[in-house]
Symmetry: C2
Subunit: 449 residues, 2 copies
């Protein structure tokens, strides 16, 4: 099946007019070389036709890949076609601060601030007390939140569980921060005990703690209240900063009953969320919200006369289309629509987990999570075909609104068929994944009841 | 005229269905609040109609603002409508390394690598010797280039002229690097003398030098050869890293005869350029190219099993639409088309400077630059109307391919009319800008010949 992906792209260059060379470091895809256009009306027409041809085949390929996608937390079911058609002719750029208009008039701040206000309301912080912006992705939100933390506590140590998204460790390295990795439970949740032990080893320095609202691989939710309690109980009161990485579940958790609440009424410093995950968006984007009192620490440094604005953002030039799409999506869905979609994801995730378990496949589904973790399929081609994200012995499916029961059934059917071959109808023993997802979730010979 | 901008937006909310509130920190624009949709078919239809109405008015506003834009270096004349229409339904994300396919199949690496190869060819570095990626903006390219420099020389000092883009100073602060600001000449170019003096004060530490290929305000080009000469002559041989910030002129300079050449045959470490500036693109984007030998320093740290890829990029999730648009633009324009456009920009910039000067307005146009710097119009409303970027006593127009002779004439006509009022037909003296753009370019009472 790896072949089928490569083929559908190799196809693109078959007409000879679009020369193709393999990518430097891996061979799955070939690249579409840019060549100097020839002169003359006919040559131009031929070139345009060849470009069109490449695009038509690319779209076909994208459709197939979108259909067979399960592993990454992207809602691939959205329709902003009519909005984008209206706006694709403009270079909309919200450069600088969302709240301070720059001299560049082709911006979408009026949409951006509406989106920010919506999230501020969701996370219970008053308009005058927050600052934030629409980012180019979840990573930018983490980079921003942790930078604010470092500016608040320049000698603070960054604590993050070892199952934290890699962007947080990237931030520590970029920002030259001391960083302590904290152990996790089998569920993927941060180990409170280990957090406490490690805090006590570094009592003299403030703590900057990254809290995961949905870890990347297991969809585990760190217990924010417990983290705050541990910090306060161990002498860190008024000497800590919490960044909540809600990239994945930031927009689902508020709609689950009994879920711990992410709110600025608790002593947190910043929250980030991705816009292209649960809502769905044709380009990566996200939102970061922090307290305006902290933000002054960054903006003092970043007065930019040239823009007639202040730039406390990481990126400076910022895609102005994304805020309009988020505005459009949130306006149409509203809390009610999001709640419905979130609950459907949870139901479908339970369905997937149960279908896996009843088929004898080890699987874990954390509470308040739509990430179903299971035995890693042993054939890499199968993994690629369904675009599963894998780590060690496990793979996962993140059930987003576009993952329907029919899609799950199709996946299970193919997986079961392939497993017959992989395990030779039971002659080869199934792997043990107890260390990865817990004994109670493991269905290997040793652990199944 | 400030009023007219505000009005065109206030208009948007007049129908009461889209409540509006002023932005927190400035009052030019009002924001478009997101409200919970009501239940029922009619309510949904009314909501959709109101959203449509907002968008139609917003498009009208964008058209007007795009028409009256002169100050920022964005080519607003492009047409990717048909490409975007094909791709707007997909969530194309090149997460991770451009050269190593991740498990997520909805990507555009085959276009991205083609774009990177094109730039590598332009800057004369072999395929196997470079690494790079399509960034989300010029700032990301600078952040990446300077990070590579810091990893190569962890105790290096960053040198950048005081007219360098603010993202470079932002990088220094983010990365906790020692940073030395170097004086500039009146043209905006880095002062070699001051660079040498400052290098000699810090002989014991390696030098990371940012070279501007087009400064933000005056469009001045630092002399790369001279910078290299100064470094080598003063004992920094094999102890320096040069990042070329070519955000603005990176795609124009190669097409000017006599322009100093940006090439990896010289001892430079990285080059970044913006994709939405000279080429034009509906979203900010850019390209950064560095040497693959350096890149290993970052990627060792950033193996991401979850992605089945390596992530040495700053952002992680990366907009996959931008590489397709750049591929499309470069394929259609080619070197020939870009050369023609670049030369037209230069000609039109000379025309604008001459029209200003013959009208008695002080103006500067650096060689190899299409940035025309002139007396800052004293009425802020005029500045906003034409979206001029200003700093101190000066404003500028960056002549991009969409700035035609007709647009220049319209601007000059309006400026002259307004100046009659501002200076009361000559009764009020024109300001002296000799300190900003040089005596020879100043047409105040004292300096005009």
């Amino acid at each position: 099946m790896v072949g089928s992906i490569a083929n559908s792209l190799v196809e693109v260059g078959e007409d000879n007019t679009t020369p193709m060379v393999p990518l430097v470091n891996n061979v799955g895809t070939t690249c579409l070389t840019i060549t100097e256009p020839e002169v003359g009306k006919e040559a131009v027409e031929a070139r345009d036709a060849s470009i069109e041809d490449v695009l038509v085949k690319y779209v076909k390929h994208l459709k197939e890949r979108t259909q067979h996608h399960l592993g990454y937390p992207y809602n691939l079911d959205f329709d902003y076609g009519s909005v984008i058609a209206k706006l694709s002719g403009f270079s909309i750029n919200n450069l600088g601060d969302p709240f301070i208009e720059s001299n560049y008039g082709v911006h979408s701040r009026q949409f951006e601030v509406a989106v920010l206000d919506w999230f501020a309301h969701l996370w219970e912080i008053n308009k005058q007390d927050y600052w934030g912006y629409v980012t180019s992705c979840g990573t930018e939100g983490n980079l921003h939140g942790i930078l604010v933390g470092r500016e608040v506590f320049p000698d603070g140590i960054l604590y993050a569980s070892k199952e934290t998204h890699y962007s947080v460790f990237k931030a520590a390295r970029m920002y030259r921060m001391e960083c302590v990795k904290v152990e996790t439970l089998v569920s993927g949740e941060i180990s409170w005990e280990d957090l406490q032990d490690k805090l006590l080893l570094n009592r003299n320095k403030p703590a900057i703690v990254n809290v995961n609202i949905g870890t990347t691989v297991k969809g585990a939710v760190d217990d924010l209240d417990k983290v705050i309690q541990i910090l306060e109980r161990n002498g860190f009161k008024d000497r800590f900063y919490i960044h909540c990485d809600s990239a994945l579940f930031g927009l689902m958790m508020p709609f689950f009953n009994q879920a711990p609440k992410i709110t600025f009424k608790k002593p947190i410093g910043s929250v980030s969320v991705s816009g292209h995950k649960f809502i769905g968006c044709p380009m990566p984007c996200g939102v970061v919200i922090t307290r305006s009192i902290y933000e002054n620490k960054l903006s003092d440094f970043n007065q930019v006369e040239y823009l007639a604005s202040v730039d406390s953002t990481i990126m400076g030039s910022r895609n102005g289309l994304a805020p309009v799409l988020l505005w459009h999506g949130l306006n149409r869905k509203g809390y009610k629509g999001l709640r419905k979609a979130a609950q459907k994801c949870l139901r479908n995730a339970i369905y997937l987990k149960e279908r896996l378990r009843e088929s004898g496949i080890s699987a874990l589904l954390n509470p308040l999570s739509s990430t179903v973790v299971f035995e890693r399929p042993i054939d890499p081609a199968f993994v690629l075909q369904w675009q599963l994200a894998c780590e060690g012995n496990i793979a996962h499916v993140v059930v987003m609104p576009n993952i329907t029961i029919a899609k799950i059934d199709g996946f299970i059917e193919e997986l079961l068929k392939m497993r017959e071959t992989w395990f030779r109808g039971g002659k080869i023993a199934k792997p043990c994944v107890a260390a990865d997802i817990g004994r109670e979730n493991c269905l290997c010979e040793l652990h199944k009841i």
